[in-house]
């Protein structure tokens, strides 16, 4: 069994309540940080831990914190990004539902480290139960003196608020989140300036994922160096993976980074293998926006090394033969799944969620959806595949925020690895309506290098 840091006490009855959480050693990190450490010490520990952002981009959290501008007389804010809406990702919801105090504790420690006296948890609007759970947890923590004025007699004040989101995927992009939090339309801002300089209400702001913030608790408790011992190289610590798709045991798993992907899929400790004795066809390793991988690239990298659940190993080979850790939305496809249909489904999502601010994403996502719909329903032509490739290339990198990239990558990867399946949909129009293609004859992945 791997070590569990976040979900260690997940099965303890009543862990949602303050008393039980406290009995199990909760809020030790707050006591330790506020009483015996300076804010800079906490930042230093997080830097040493090598913790990388768990929201998707994998940017080192300690470094992000150290970029925070600290002008005199200007408030600073910490905002927790709980707008988890990526298809396939549900780890933050799990954490907030079952062990809300881990997030509250992390928020107090992180706010202290950043010198923020007002912090926000922005939770996706659809997650009303989780919002109520968090509000209850905040009230409990406040009653126990861990929030509010003069926490534990240390003179540090912190107010924590939960903000229901506007119900849009785009509000998970950090600047759109800040706009939404300010009460405006959730359009991403044009960067620079970055939130670390001018974020919420024009003040320096750090936006972190729920899991990143919760991970600061074990880091403060055990020290950054201890945390960095878990994992491999620059992928340190544990990560929550939300596994779904055609597997025997879907759910949220906490893994030590460095577990082989093959073990994660097939071992009984985790996913328990492919459901119904089918064969593995494809894998989306980190939420719908990361490139899909065909079976021959899942267990091993193109160099023949075993692929591990780390930021580096999953990204090995770049986008030609690799993928990304992303947010940990682990979606497994068996041989009965249709890649074209799945790509259309993902694209439909991005088209629906595009904010409409910049032209490539607004127009391009809708166009890709239309073309993919045609191919899926047997009305496509061979030129459509090249057209799709052109459209995604024109979107990628030319947009204000990463949503354009997120929409382009799955399409690019699906064509790159499963082009034969797209072609089969065009050459076998009627047949493709009745049955799925099955295992693809994997196209040479380096064709488009």
């Amino acid at each position: 069994m791997g070590r569990k840091l976040l979900l260690e006490h997940i099965n303890v009855p009543g862990i949602q309540t303050f008393e039980v959480y406290r009995q199990k050693g909760g809020y030790r990190a707050v006591e330790k940080a506020l009483k015996s450490m300076s804010p800079d010490d906490v930042v230093e520990e997080v830097k040493k831990s090598g913790l990388r952002g768990r929201g998707g981009a994998g940017f080192p959290t300690g470094m992000k914190w150290s970029f925070l501008a600290k002008p005199e007389g200007v408030p600073r804010y910490l905002v927790c990004n709980g707008d988890e809406s990526e298809p396939g990702t549900f780890k933050d919801r799990y954490l907030m539902t079952h062990i809300p105090h881990a997030l509250i504790e992390g928020m107090i420690v992180s706010s202290y480290a950043l010198g923020a006296n007002t912090s926000y948890i922005y939770v996706r609007g659809e997650m009303m139960p989780q919002i109520r759970i968090l509000e209850k947890a905040i009230a409990e923590a406040k009653a126990a003196g861990f929030l509010g004025k003069d926490i534990l007699g240390t003179g540090y004040d912190l107010e924590l608020y939960v903000q229901p989101g506007g119900g849009a995927y785009i509000c998970g992009e950090e600047t759109a989140l800040l706009e939404s939090l300010e009460g405006k339309r959730g359009n991403p801002r044009i960067k620079p300036p970055f939130p670390a300089v001018a974020g919420l209400y024009g003040c320096p702001t750090v936006v972190n994922n729920v899991e990143s913030i919760a991970a600061t608790v074990p880091i403060v408790n055990d020290g950054g160096e201890e945390y960095a011992k878990i994992g491999i190289e620059r992928s340190t610590g544990t990560k929550l993976i939300s596994a779904s798709g055609n597997i025997n045991k879907p759910g949220v798993y906490e893994i030590e980074l460095g577990v082989p992907v093959e073990e994660f899929i097939y071992s009984d400790e985790y996913c328990g293998g492919i459901a119904n004795g089918k064969r593995l066809k494809a894998l989306v390793a980190g939420g719908s926006s990361v490139p899909i991988l065909p079976a021959n690239l899942i267990s091993t990298t193109i160099k023949g090394e075993p692929r591990l659940m780390t930021y580096e190993s999953l990204a090995d080979g770049g986008f030609q033969t690799g993928t990304m850790m992303g947010s940990g939305g682990f979606i497994v496809f068996d041989e009965d799944q249709c890649i074209v249909r799945n790509t259309w489904n993902f694209t439909r999502f991005y088209s629906h969620e595009s904010c409409g601010q910049c032209s490539p994403c607004r127009e391009g996502t809708g166009w890709m959806e239309n073309v993919l719909y045609n191919i899926e329903t047997g009305q496509g032509s061979m030129e459509d595949i090249d057209l799709l490739w052109d459209i995604q290339r024109n979107i990628e990198g030319n947009t204000i925020c990463p949503l354009g990239d997120a929409a382009a990558w799955p399409v690019a990867a699906a064509i790159r690895h499963f082009r034969d399946e797209f072609e089969w949909h065009i050459t076998h129009r009627d047949e493709s309506q009745q049955r799925n293609y099955g295992l693809a004859h994997y196209a040479d992945p380096l064709e488009y290098a």
């Binding site: 629906h352 601010q357 910049c358 032209s359 607004r362």
Partner: protein
């Protein structure tokens, strides 16, 4: 002792220019002028916060600055990226930029109705210029375009949402020139539309400026609607003593009639000063104005095909001594100031 002003040296397509810190790449390029100025559909120098949305002004930064010579990883929107000392920018010399721009233009056109033959904006439309330069010869979009109903915004302005490219300029005009307004985009993604919030801002004296800032034919002047093609009309700069605005406008003549009044536009298609609705819609007779000179028009523009610089004073003025005198005085003053 006066301190020497700090200037950043920037090279755009190999042409060096020195600009004040905080200038954007686009404005630095505009100081050089000519072909290397990136096209801008959404940026408007007089509107705070505009830009960054249309992505036609993308450029490649090959060298970040003297201190940090690393290139920027992606193409950047030149209208919102400020220059650094020693920055090297590639615009029309970079194939990557040209290709990205071609892609953006294609995206802008897929849902555009391409109804130029019946569009009042034709001839002075930025999207026409852009597609002439960067567009494909034929469309690859084989689906039905998104469509909206036309909306009359009051008696004077018509919103033709089908033609809109969502540059947000009119939203900024309504926000910044009129009172009590939030924003005017409803819907999301491809279904975004400029909407009713604008109708509420009707009382304002300056809402007519949304027509001038609109780069396409989405917001048109109902008083000019279907009256004429712009290239048959002759623009003449004129002014009047207006209590609400500067009163400096361009009159568009067809024969002796003023068909429409707009703000004076500079070489980048931006108005020099915003004008009020009284000047724009109510004062459409030569007698209201003191004429100055033919408005300068880019020689490549279709409007320049009219040889309007041989402009003769309309008979109205020729007959009216008072106007003639006022005109002469004004022309003399303008000459002196030059």
């Amino acid at each position: 002792m006066a301190e020497e002003e700090v200037k950043f040296k920037v090279t755009i397509d190999g042409i060096p220019v020195e600009v004040a810190p905080g200038t954007t790449i686009l404005n630095a390029a505009r100081q050089i002028g000519g072909d290397i100025v990136p096209p801008a559909m959404c940026y408007y120098s007089k509107l705070e916060g505009s830009g960054g949305k249309c992505r036609t002004c993308l450029v490649k930064v090959a060298k970040g600055s003297e201190k940090d010579p690393r290139p920027m990883p992606k193409l950047v929107a030149s209208c919102r990226t400020t220059v650094m000392d020693g920055m090297e920018v590639h615009n029309i010399t970079s194939p990557e930029v040209i290709e990205a721009r071609r892609g953006v233009v294609e995206f802008l056109l897929i849902n555009h109705p391409l109804d130029c033959p019946v569009c009042d904006q034709a001839g002075e439309c930025k999207l026409q210029d852009l597609s002439y330069e960067h567009g494909l010869e034929q469309t690859r979009f084989e689906f039905s375009k998104r469509t909206f109903e036309r909306i009359d915004i009051g008696g004077k302005i018509q919103l033709h949402m089908n033609r809109c490219i969502l540059c947000y300029r009119c939203v900024y005009v309504a926000n910044q020139l009129t009172d009590n307004r939030e924003h005017g985009i409803i819907g999301r993604g491809i279904h975004s539309e400029i909407s009713t919030y604008i109708e509420k801002a009707l009382d304002s004296d300056f809402i007519g400026n949304v027509i001038d800032v609109c780069p396409v034919g989405a917001l048109t002047d109902r008083t000019f609607r279907f009256k004429n093609r712009v290239w048959f009309t002759k623009p003449v700069n004129a002014h009047r003593d207006c209590p609400t605005c500067s009163g400096k406008v361009t009159l568009w003549y067809k024969g002796e009639d003023v068909l429409r009044v707009t703000g004076r536009k500079d070489e980048f298609g931006e108005v020099e000063e915003f004008i009020c609705d009284t000047c724009r819609f109510e004062t459409k007779s030569t007698a209201d104005w003191i004429l100055e000179e033919p408005a300068p028009i880019d020689h490549e523009s279709v409007i320049a095909a009219n040889h309007y610089y041989e402009f003769n004073l309309p008979p109205v003025i020729q007959e009216n001594k008072k106007l003639q005198l006022a005109n002469e005085e004004q022309l003399a003053r303008t000459e002196r100031l030059k």
